[in-house]
């Protein structure tokens, strides 16, 4: 359980944020300059709020009213910095052991061997940071923070300096670590893919304030938040379960509250939860169920609201069963099909448009 309330005035920026979360991975999401890092630094104790209170797992780390300000080194927050910040004069082993040796023996919950295995560091132990690749550095940084046996793991855009391939690799490691070691993670990012893949709870920030907090699948799909999420590429996030694999065609069938989705083969076991982002522009609408058509996913839906945008397009918000779905179509089509709230439609989603980048393990 994490409770954070912090205000801080700086020369040209004011932070006034509050959120709480009891989820495994909480994402602080917002554009650069929205105050995400300042807020995380306040949790770590690297920034002192003017007012507020910070509580992790029932332990008070900061409370301006009661005059509590636990020093950084006693907070037991693991921090994975954007640029790694490995100690250049120590080997990888020395870096990993730095926090481990400082943790009290009875507070340690993970051993070096376990972390080395989990993050694939065995062949790096005697190397020095300058000779590591970007991805390797971040893995070591994650391991180093974890070995200090923190109450909460803070990750400040840990993938920002990596290329796409490395990003995917590190995301996999973070997922594994989250599954195997139940440490709560606060994950700072401005990348939608990372949210879709990792986060359960999203704290949306803009200009130093928390705009909203909620389930990732809800927050990321709300069009009125688009100005803050920066997702001009509108869409929805759907929580689903793997129902079946079709090996012949390399397709996977997912089950969600609104029905079934067929998507390109997903590397997950049957029954495993999965999260899928459906971009609004990949959804087409029809008034009757088309039959002779290549599109694999045809979902029965009811129009909830239509918002016309500048330019040619409009967003059509629908319910598929109890699940929200957004389609981005031309205003021209809205008029031609005479779409309005309450209307029953068929949402068409090409399976191929739901590529691997849009899926993530929940």
């Amino acid at each position: 359980m994490l409770k954070v309330r912090a205000t801080k005035k700086l020369a040209n920026f004011a932070l006034d944020a509050e959120f709480s979360s009891d989820s495994g991975i909480t994402a602080l999401f917002g554009r650069s300059g929205s105050g995400k890092t300042t807020l995380v630094n306040a949790i770590a104790g690297l920034v002192r709020p003017d007012r507020g209170a910070i509580e992790v797992n029932g332990e008070c780390l900061f409370d301006s009213a009661r005059g509590i300000d636990v020093p950084v080194e006693s907070r037991r927050v693991g921090y994975v910095f954007q640029e790694g910040r490995l100690f250049p004069h120590l080997t990888v082993r020395g870096n990993l052991n730095y926090g481990y040796e400082l943790a009290h023996a009875n507070e340690r919950y993970v051993a070096l061997d376990k972390v080395v295995e989990l993050l694939g560091l065995a062949h790096l132990l005697e190397r020095r940071p300058a000779n590591l690749s970007g991805g390797e550095k971040q893995r070591v940084a994650i391991g180093r923070a974890l070995l200090a046996s923190p109450r909460v793991l803070l990750m400040d855009e840990p993938l920002a300096s990596l290329d796409t391939l490395r990003k995917g690799e590190i995301l996999q490691y973070i997922e594994r670590l989250h599954d195997e070691i139940k440490v709560p993670i606060v994950y700072v990012t401005h990348a939608v893919e990372e949210i879709v893949r990792l986060a359960e709870i999203v704290v949306l920030m803009a200009a130093g304030r928390v705009i909203t907090t909620g389930k990732a699948s809800e927050v990321m799909g709300r069009p009125e938040l688009r100005a803050h999420t920066g997702i001009f590429e509108g869409g929805t996030v759907i929580d689903a379960k793997v129902a079946a694999h079709d090996l012949e065609y390399d397709l996977t069938t997912l089950e969600f509250a609104g029905g079934q989705l067929r998507v390109p083969g997903v590397d997950a076991l049957i029954g495993e939860p999965i999260r899928m982002r459906i971009r609004a522009r990949d959804v087409a609408l029809a008034l009757t169920r088309p039959s002779d058509i290549s599109v694999l996913n045809i979902l029965h839906a009811r129009v909830i609201e239509i918002s016309a945008e500048q330019g040619p397009s409009a967003s059509v918000r629908m319910d598929v069963g109890s699940v929200a779905l957004v389609a981005r179509i031309t205003r021209h089509s809205v008029e031609r099909l005479d779409l309005r709230p309450g209307r029953e439609v068929y949402a068409l989603i090409k399976a191929i448009s739901l590529d691997r980048h849009s899926s993530g393990f929940a």
């Binding site: 004069h89 190397r127 020095r128 300058a130």
Partner: protein, 233 residues
């Protein structure tokens, strides 16, 4: 021609001893002053900075003279030291070490300060999140990363100590076996008839010592820089 007389050996040994102790004793203070100048802001900082650098620009004789006034047996500090601790530094080799240490101090502080300023404070913050107290961060992160500057500072001030003349002769005079270091011995030889050969011999030794110190410092600094940059040594 190259064989040293016992008196010359004595001067060489004394020089090394004085330089060694002057460096050893001024090092912790120089690190503290360098940290203060690199990391904190306080009123009067520029004045403090100027005072630290004073020995670099003052005539050494002036430094020696003030030391004599202050630490001489009848000086305010010298009298105290003698009365309470039984320590006498005037006209002793320890006084020569103090004079040498003060003259080399600004060089040491400058080198260390540059190195401290180059340390990424983000690394120190990272160490604290891992559970290290400020002192532990200093000894396990800041100090190791400052090592190249410390080595440079140590060798510069060591070389400076070996060459110290003006402040030494003013403060502790030129006593054979006690305060007659290499430069003072050379000076003495140039003042006596027929001392040319001895002066030359001692000068060659001084040159060899200085060159060795500089080469050693270059080698150590490169090694330390490789380590601090995190490449495999």
């Amino acid at each position: 021609m190259l064989a040293l007389t016992p008196a010359e050996w004595e001067a060489l040994e004394l020089s090394l001893k004085v330089a060694f102790w002057s460096v050893l004793c001024s090092l912790p203070l120089a690190v503290a002053v360098a940290m203060l100048l690199a990391r904190s802001n306080f009123s009067g900082k520029s004045l403090f900075d100027a005072v630290v650098h004073l020995p670099l620009v003052l005539p050494p004789v002036v430094v020696g003279y003030f030391l004599l006034l202050l630490l001489g047996r009848r000086g305010p500090l010298g009298a105290l030291l003698e009365e309470y601790f039984g320590i006498i530094v005037a006209f002793r080799w320890t006084g020569a070490a103090i004079a040498a240490g003060i003259m080399g101090f600004p060089l040491m502080v400058r080198a260390i300060r540059l190195s401290v300023e180059a340390v990424d404070q983000g690394l120190e913050a990272a160490a604290r999140t891992l559970g290290a107290s400020r002192w532990r961060v200093f000894f396990t992160v800041t100090l190791p990363l400052t090592l190249p500057g410390i080595l440079t500072g140590v060798l510069l001030s060591f070389a400076r100590s070996l060459g110290e003349f003006g402040a030494t002769i003013t403060f502790v005079s030129n006593i054979p076996g006690e305060t007659r270091t290499l430069p003072l011995a050379i000076y003495t030889q140039t003042q006596v008839p027929g001392g040319d050969a001895a002066a030359l011999r001692l000068s060659v030794i001084a040159i060899v010592l200085s060159v060795m110190a500089l080469m050693l410092s270059e080698w150590l600094v490169q090694r330390a820089q490789r380590r601090a940059k995190g490449q495999d040594a």
